[in-house]
């Protein structure tokens, strides 16, 4: 989901930038530093306007100056349970990788075995949990695709609507688990 978020950031400026155009430099540096980063919970999509530029403070020993900037930015934070549109990045046998902007989601095949007591694998009643059971992997087609052999074809580059089932954040990366096994989820008609 997108938010307008007020943020604060400390900008350190080298003395060579001190001068009449210092405000411009700070603005450029802010955009450079902030836009596109993943702060852990959300991505900063776009800095709208910067306001409240603090007084500069020279850091003892270095000569650089520190400015605290308050600004407003459009941020994007994916939530568990949110429905998103993305583009299929890769199709493999064990599932589908979907890119939703900077977020990389995985729609797993995730077969759950209904009856485990039967020992021959053939008798397993399998059920796909994240992908509708009628959509199967077809590795022999080029490029490989997931398809129900009708109008639903998921291949690299397809537009797809997914629902987030879990999100995990690493240092500068976000991973998500998603599903298309619900009403109105799945491949979207390409315009």
């Amino acid at each position: 989901m997108f938010f307008l978020h007020e943020l604060e950031r400390t900008i350190t400026l080298h003395p060579s930038f001190f001068g009449p155009r210092i405000d411009t430099y700070i603005g450029e540096k802010l955009l450079q530093d902030v836009e596109g980063i993943n702060t852990g919970n959300y991505y900063v999509v776009c800095v709208l306007d910067s306001f409240d530029l603090s007084e500069g403070r020279v850091i003892p020993g270095t000569g650089s100056a520190e400015y605290t900037v308050h600004f407003r930015a459009v941020v994007w934070r994916p939530f568990k349970g949110e429905i998103l549109d993305g583009i299929v990045a890769q199709v493999v046998e064990s599932g589908i990788f979907v890119d939703v902007g900077p977020l990389s989601c995985f729609v797993a095949k995730s077969v759950c075995l209904v009856s485990e007591l039967n020992t021959t694998k053939r008798d397993f009643l399998t059920l796909q949990k994240m992908i509708p059971s009628d959509i199967k992997y077809d590795g022999n087609s080029t490029p490989p695709q997931w398809t129900d052999n009708a109008d639903q074809v998921i291949e690299k580059g397809s537009h797809i609507r997914i629902k987030i089932k879990g999100i995990r954040v690493e240092v500068d990366e976000m991973f998500a688990i998603a599903t298309i096994k619900e009403d109105y989820l799945g491949p979207l008609p390409n315009e």
Partner: protein, 842 residues
């Protein structure tokens, strides 16, 4: 999931009550059973005394996971004596078999979470990373087996196999040398024809300074057709040591509509190892249906799935730009391979040209010599192979950047073309001198040759492997369906389950080696002058390659030996030895490589080296000249050749054992690094001089020699010096080259320095004659010590040295270096004396 008693309880504990019944649903941290344990505690009583009391502590055991209780393994009242005892079986709603980015792909739970009662991390359940393009997806062993089974079924239904394809030097050759672009534009350039279809792309993040770097890609001839045909029989995967961006760009070139490789690209970024390639990365469970094509066997540890191809070396001297992380390529095979490409693949005419005097022949030599002269960028790159130490990796990657930057700036191709042009000019001058009506001399020769036909053969081999595999499969499939016998017995053909179908799938690791082993079956190979010194003959790349084709490799010539693989221009002891036995075929490396290429025992005819057992040399002083052959052998041969050499010479005249003496005394490490062309190109006068010199050296009593020599002294000055002086002079000549060594040795004990001196003298004998500048080669195998007449000869040498020492008695306490100065002085003195003698004679 079976819960076991954890390590951190206070054992023994006694179960008092099971709190959950069979089939009950439990949550995580839900109490499963209550128990008590006893412990002694120190408490104060009413009188203010501290006493130790044993107390009973009742508590509950909490579930580690949520799920449904399948069965209890304990009862109320049971005493659990220690950790590791089964408590309860809980069926989990999700086994977390597929994990993506630290989350279970099935339920979305965080797998990295660890709580106080976790016995094993959830992330350990799925440890196999088998997807091509990502490192974040892990699956469990059973999931991997299931996926692979499905993939196999799919392949069997399409009658395909899997083929893992390496990029660099296998199906393409890449360089970053910008010269290629210039040649592409310049239609007059001799290389234009070869490079006009070179493809290029730019990688922005790569290259020096991150400015982006243009890569020039030459496709191996016939590649597109090869891929198109092979992709009908195989499902192709790319497995490269290049970066992801590099691999995808190459894939765009060789597979523009993604029909051949699709997304099945595995690059360095996802490979998991910088040094080796591992088939288990893509096929974790079994590799029965997988073949590999690669130009390097060592990175695959010579897997049975591997078809090793000749490295594609189009841009001469560039090597593999992505191999800096790999272990160093064994040089001999690579070099030989590049040498034979021009000759071996079209054996007849090329070889004739080689031996002939015509212009083409001399030019064909030119690239080779430039190869040696210019430092190979690729070599620099591969030399950096090292361990998995992160620091090493860091330095390797920076070095690779540096090497790529060097390639961009140094333009090795341009340099070589220049050299080639120079050679051309010389050649044309010569040809105009020799015969006036030769073709126009302005014709330049091209550095790059577009004459590789590896892929044609490779396609045949892959086809035959595929055919053999599915013939075997059909046979087994038919047999397992009961067949005729079962029919007669009146059994109904059992309905085959696909699971069983997979069980009868034949193993490519058995089929392919079997086919290959037929190629050189019964061939016993001895290498001479091909395997680099210091490399074990049995584990050298070329031997392992030969062995994979069913050949036997041994290090000495015996009755079983059928082929001796030798270098064309070197007559080693083994070659001579083999020449005595008519049934042994002495062939060049090109024969072996042609066999590898064609998977056939090809006719040896064009590759035979003709060597007579007792070859007559240039000027009659044949045997005496052998020292000049020997050192060359020594540079390249394994030490076992030295032994052969000894026996060989001992067959000959006993008085000439000086030859072996030279060789045996030198540790291989001290021998000149490269076989010198100069020694072969000595002109007749020099040969004569050397011959005389040796005669003198051997026959001190020969009184005529002095006067004879002094007569001839105008042309060969050296003839006038007495043997002893000659030796000293030699020492002085090479004193400079071995100066560092001397300074080292000077510090050592007298014994050590004597040994050193012996070695040095022996070395000098060689080096002064072959004009070798550098003698620092990494230590090889120590040569066996000699005994017998040679030793005696050596003693004499030693005495000579002793005389010198006596003469320089005043400096006896000083270091060796001084002694050598004295030697030089003595030599000069002697020379002066000789000159005076000459005057007197006149």
């Amino acid at each position: 999931m079976l819960l076991r008693s954890p390590k951190n309880l206070h054992y023994p504990v006694t179960v008092t009550e099971l709190l959950k019944q069979h089939n009950a649903d439990v949550d995580k941290y839900a109490p499963l059973f209550s128990y008590f344990y006893k412990s002694t505690v120190t408490t104060g009583n009413d009188f203010g005394e501290w006493v130790e009391v044993e107390k009973t502590f009742p508590t509950v055991f909490e579930s580690e996971t949520d799920g449904k209780i399948v069965s209890w393994k304990i009862d109320a009242g049971a005493v659990i004596s220690g950790p590791g005892i089964a408590l309860v079986e809980i069926e989990e709603p999700c086994r977390h078999e597929v994990q993506y980015g630290g989350m279970c792909a099935d339920c979305g739970k965080d797998m990295t979470m660890v709580s106080y009662n976790t016995s094993s991390r959830d992330s350990d359940r799925a440890t196999i990373n088998m997807a091509h393009g990502t490192t974040a997806l892990f699956i469990s062993q059973s999931e991997a087996a299931r996926l692979e089974e499905e993939a196999k079924r799919r392949l069997l239904s399409k009658r395909k196999l899997s083929l893992v394809v390496d990029l660099d030097q296998t199906i393409i050759h890449a360089t970053v040398d910008p010269t290629v672009a210039e040649w592409q534009k310049d239609e007059n350039n001799p290389n234009h024809g070869a490079v006009k279809d070179v493809r290029s792309f730019q990688l922005v993040d790569d290259g020096p300074g991150g400015h982006g770097c243009w890569y020039y890609i030459k496709l191996r001839p016939g590649l597109m057709q090869f891929l198109r045909h092979i992709s009908e029989l195989y499902e192709l995967h790319i497995y490269t040591m290049g970066t992801r961006a590099y691999a995808t760009n190459i894939a765009k070139i060789i597979d523009p509509d993604q029909k051949i490789f699709g997304d099945r690209i595995l690059s360095r970024d996802e490979s998991g190892s910088m040094q080796v390639k591992n088939l288990q990365r893509l096929f974790p469970v079994d590799t029965k249906m997988v073949a590999i094509i690669d130009d390097r066997g060592d990175v695959w540890s010579w897997s049975d799935n591997l078809i090793k191809v000749n490295p594609y070396d189009f841009f001469v001297g560039i090597g593999d730009i992505n191999s800096s992380f790999l272990p160093k390529r064994q040089e001999a095979t690579a070099k030989e391979a590049s040498q034979v490409r021009n000759k071996a693949l079209a054996p007849g005419p090329a070889v004739k040209k080689q031996s002939g005097q015509d212009e083409n022949g001399s030019v064909a030599q030119a690239p080779k010599s430039t190869n040696g002269a210019l430092s190979r960028i690729g070599e620099q790159l591969v030399a950096m192979g090292g361990g998995g130490d992160p620091n090493v990796l860091q330095s390797q990657s920076t070095q690779q950047e540096a090497a790529i930057a060097a390639q961009v700036s140094d333009r090795p191709l341009l340099q070589k073309q220049k050299q080639l042009d120079e050679a051309d000019e010389k050649a044309s001058e010569e040809s105009t001198n020799s015969d006036s009506d030769s073709e126009q001399p302005s014709q330049r020769h091209n550095l790059l040759h577009d004459d590789d036909n590896e892929l044609d053969f490779l396609e045949q081999h892959l086809r035959s492997v595929h055919r053999a595999f599915y013939e075997e499969y059909d046979r087994k499939l038919h047999g397992s369906h009961g067949g005729r016998v079962a029919e007669l017995r009146g059994e109904r053909p059992a309905r085959k389950l696909p699971v069983d179908d997979l069980r009868i799938v034949p193993d490519i690791k058995a089929i392919m080696p079997f086919i290959k082993a037929q190629v050189l079956r019964g061939v016993n190979i001895v290498f001479t002058g091909v395997v680099p010194l210091g490399v074990d003959v049995y584990s050298a790349d070329i031997s392992r390659w030969a062995k994979s084709f069913g050949a036997n490799v041994s290090d000495h010539i015996s009755g079983k030996t059928t082929h001796v693989i030798a270098a064309r221009d070197r007559k080693t002891a083994k070659v001579r030895q083999a020449a005595k036995r008519p049934h042994i075929k002495i062939v060049t490396m090109s024969w072996l490589l042609s066999c590898f290429l064609q998977w056939e025992h090809v006719d040896e005819g064009p590759h035979i080296i003709h060597a007579e057992p007792d070859e007559t040399n240039l000027h009659g002083s044949t045997k005496a000249l052998s020292p000049f052959d020997e050192p060359e052998d020594g540079t390249k041969l394994s030490s076992s050749d030295d032994e052969a050499a000894v026996t060989d010479y001992e067959d000959g005249e006993a008085g000439l054992t000086i030859a072996t003496d030279v060789n045996d005394d030198i540790p291989d490490s001290l021998l000149p690094t490269s076989p010198t062309d100069e020694s072969r190109q000595l002109n007749a006068a020099e040969w004569e001089g050397i011959g005389e010199e040796l005669k003198e050296f051997l026959g001190d009593s020969d009184t005529d020699s002095d006067s004879d020599a002094s007569e001839a002294s105008n042309s060969t000055r050296s003839g006038s010096v007495t043997p002893k002086n000659r030796k000293r002079k030699r020492e002085t000549q090479s004193a400079e080259s071995s100066e560092t060594e001397e300074s080292d040795s000077s510090a050592k004990s007298q014994l050590g320095s004597r040994l050193q001196k012996r070695k040095r003298r022996a070395l000098e004998r060689v080096s002064s004659l072959t004009n070798v500048a550098s003698a620092d080669m990494s230590s090889g195998l120590p040569s066996p010590d000699t005994t017998g007449p040679e030793g005696g000869q050596e003693e004499e040498d030693e005495e000579d040295g002793g005389e010198v020492k006596k003469a320089a008695a005043g400096n006896s306490g000083e270091a060796d270096g001084d002694e050598d100065d004295d030697d030089m002085a003595a030599a000069l003195e002697a020379e002066m004396e000789a000159a005076l003698d000459d005057d007197e004679d006149d």
